[in-house]
């Protein structure tokens, strides 16, 4: 035991310097003004941006839901095919991740643009050009495209552990494929669903690059708002810190609710 404590010391120091201290600093900024006096003003000012909060949460929910619907069957199929085929397929799924995030999003900018490939094609077949870029749809698309692997991987890793014989046992006891899905596979993959949702929802709700590049000026998200407070014309780190703090609280609440669905021995946060 004593030895373990000594070994964990560097990690504790690390956590203190790079996790605890920054959080304290954010909280400090959020509750003070320029003169360094304690104030609640920053927090109450966040209320003005309720619409941006709602939009961010809404778009992140939609993107997460789409990711889940797309990933679930894929992860299941992936987990049931031959072991040696699985690794190849997984690599294909991961391939887009090897390309830089900015580059991937830029690519969508040109694809969706008013003179982009998609609109040119649509024009050819007589429906278009449509307004694709600078819409909330484009933002959701960007989120789904970028964060899809974060959903597939945790789902795949729990499903891969589901023993084939458990599925056979369910068949044996009278389940058709549909019932097997809802009585066995979904309950057993619940931890993967919860962690997949977490891993997509958290980056999606706080992104600012995707909304900036694909959403135009009319689809401002929380991430953009925070960035503006620190790097933009609106420079106000106190308000920025307050917004971050509220965002953190929102994520915490949502994750706590999510964890209620996870079995006791597999809590994620």
């Amino acid at each position: 035991m004593q030895k373990l404590k000594v070994l964990s010391l560097p990690y504790l120091v690390w956590m203190f310097i790079f996790i605890l201290v920054p959080i304290i600093m954010v909280a400090f900024f959020a509750f003070t003004n320029n003169e360094g006096a304690l104030t609640m003003e920053n927090i109450s000012d966040v209320g003005q941006y309720a619409n941006i909060f709602i939009r961010s949460i809404w778009l992140a929910i939609i993107a997460t839901a789409i990711c889940l619907v797309l990933s679930y069957p894929l992860a299941y199929i992936l987990s049931r095919i031959d072991k040696h085929k699985q690794s190849t397929m997984l690599m294909i799924v991961m391939l887009p991740m090897w390309m830089n995030f900015l580059l991937r999003t830029y690519a969508w900018m040109t694809l969706l643009g008013n003179n982009g490939i998609i609109n040119n094609l649509l024009e050819l077949i007589g429906i278009g050009p449509l307004k694709l870029i600078n819409t909330s749809g484009a933002v959701v698309l960007g989120m789904v495209y970028n964060y899809l692997p974060f959903m597939i991987l945790p789902l795949y890793s729990v499903m891969e552990k589901i023993d084939k014989s458990v599925i056979e046992a369910a068949n044996d006891l009278g389940c058709n494929s549909f019932k097997v899905l809802f009585k066995v596979i979904v309950p057993l993959s619940l931890p993967g669903i919860v962690s997949g949702i977490t891993m997509v929802f958290v980056p999606a709700i706080s992104t600012f690059i995707i909304s900036r590049m694909l959403g135009g000026g009319s689809n401002l998200l929380i991430g953009d708002l925070i960035e503006m407070q620190f790097l933009g014309n609106a420079y106000n780190p106190h308000l920025g810190a307050a917004i971050s703090l509220v965002l953190m609280a929102i994520i915490l609440v949502i994750m706590t609710v999510m964890n209620q669905f996870s079995p006791d021995d597999q809590v994620l946060i």
């Binding site: 068949n171 044996d172 006891l173 009278g174 389940c175 058709n176 066995v184 309950p187």
Partner: protein, 347 residues
């Protein structure tokens, strides 16, 4: 009695072209307790999986109640399985695991409570209802697996080594219990084991398999007393198997000596397997015996001593209630009807 399950010329080949089952044919009667007995890897589980619907034979037919059921999915067969590796649902507790099949069939809550309770009683797991199956011992898991299949009262229950993880005492108890249930509920049991004693004590019919081939089908007494070949004889009870030949009817020659026996109908001087059970070897004074040997080891086995005797061409295994001193020279003799003559199997 009607045949409830019939297997006709089943052949199973896996992708690598290896033949796992080679032409298996078998009729299982309604309410019968049939046991597949054979060494590891001989195809017992494979045969069971075909009856359960989890594996399609490469060729051959499966009949259930007179109807051909090739291609019918498992959930549409009136058959339940106790899987060799339990395959319990890890997300459900003991109670819900057992209730699973009944819930799928949408039985009333009252009926479910009653039948699951009955099963819990039977497998001795009262008080474990709420326990997660991940926190059970191997033997407890095995009993949940038995209860989960049995609670559905299927016409045919397939049991794949269902008592393998239990200790001797519990195994004996469960053997008796299972046999009682099978008779009380009038179910057909298809049971797999590689424990010959279990097969002999529980079954109506024993099917001895080796290498994907049925060696013999018969009642336990029939299998024990009249094994058709050396493999069955050896598998059913450790035996002395010696090469011999039949110079004439009722005379067999082995280890250079001639003995009286009761078998006839072999070709003159046909080579045969001579099978003599360890308990049928009589120890006699060395100077009065045709066969002699040196006692190599003596092991106490509870009811009897197992004596290994080094004869000229053969190490004899003898079960006797009397120990012999190691290193002593002893004589061996046999009654004519204890010498079993078997045709050589071509392989």
């Amino acid at each position: 009695m009607e045949n409830i399950v019939s297997l006709k010329n089943l052949v199973v080949e896996f992708e690598d072209g290896e033949r796992i089952l080679k032409n298996i044919s078998l009729d299982i009667k309604d309410k019968e307790f049939v046991t597949f007995l054979g060494p590891s890897g001989c195809g017992k589980t494979t045969t069971l999986r075909i009856i359960g619907g989890f594996l399609e034979p490469t060729s051959g037919d499966v009949y259930f109640d007179g109807k051909r059921i090739n291609g019918v999915p498992p959930h549409k067969r009136n058959v339940n399985t106790v899987f060799q590796r339990y395959a319990l649902f890890p997300h459900l507790n003991v109670y819900e695991n057992i209730a699973f099949g009944l819930r799928i069939k949408k039985l009333s809550d009252k009926e479910i409570v009653r039948r699951v309770g009955e099963m819990l009683e039977l497998v001795n797991l009262r008080g474990f209802e709420k326990r997660s199956v991940n926190r059970l011992s191997g033997g407890q898991q095995q009993r949940v697996a038995i209860a989960r299949a049995l609670v559905n009262h299927p016409k045919v229950l397939l049991l794949d080594e269902p008592l393998g993880a239990l200790d001797l005492k519990l195994r004996k108890e469960m053997q008796t219990e299972l046999r009682k249930i099978q008779q009380a509920l009038e179910l057909t049991f298809v049971y797999v084991t590689h424990d010959q004693e279990e097969a002999l004590t529980m079954s109506d019919t024993v099917v001895v398999m080796n290498n994907g081939i049925i060696q013999q089908i018969g009642s336990p007494i029939n299998i024990y007393n009249e094994p058709v070949n050396a493999f069955v004889a050896d598998f059913i009870g450790e035996s002395n198997i010696i090469n011999g030949c039949m110079p004439e009817d009722c005379v067999v020659e082995f280890t250079g000596k001639r003995f009286k026996c009761v078998d006839k109908g072999f070709n003159p001087n046909e080579t045969v397997d001579v099978v003599i059970r360890p308990e049928d070897v009589k120890v006699v004074p060395a100077d009065k015996a045709k066969l002699t040997g040196i006692v190599e080891s003596v092991v106490f086995k509870g009811v009897h001593y197992e004596i290994i005797v080094d004869g000229v061409d053969h190490k004899w295994i003898i079960h006797s209630t009397k120990a012999e001193p190691v290193g002593a020279m002893i004589g061996m003799d046999f009654d004519p009807f204890d010498i079993h003559i078997m045709k050589k199997t071509e392989e």
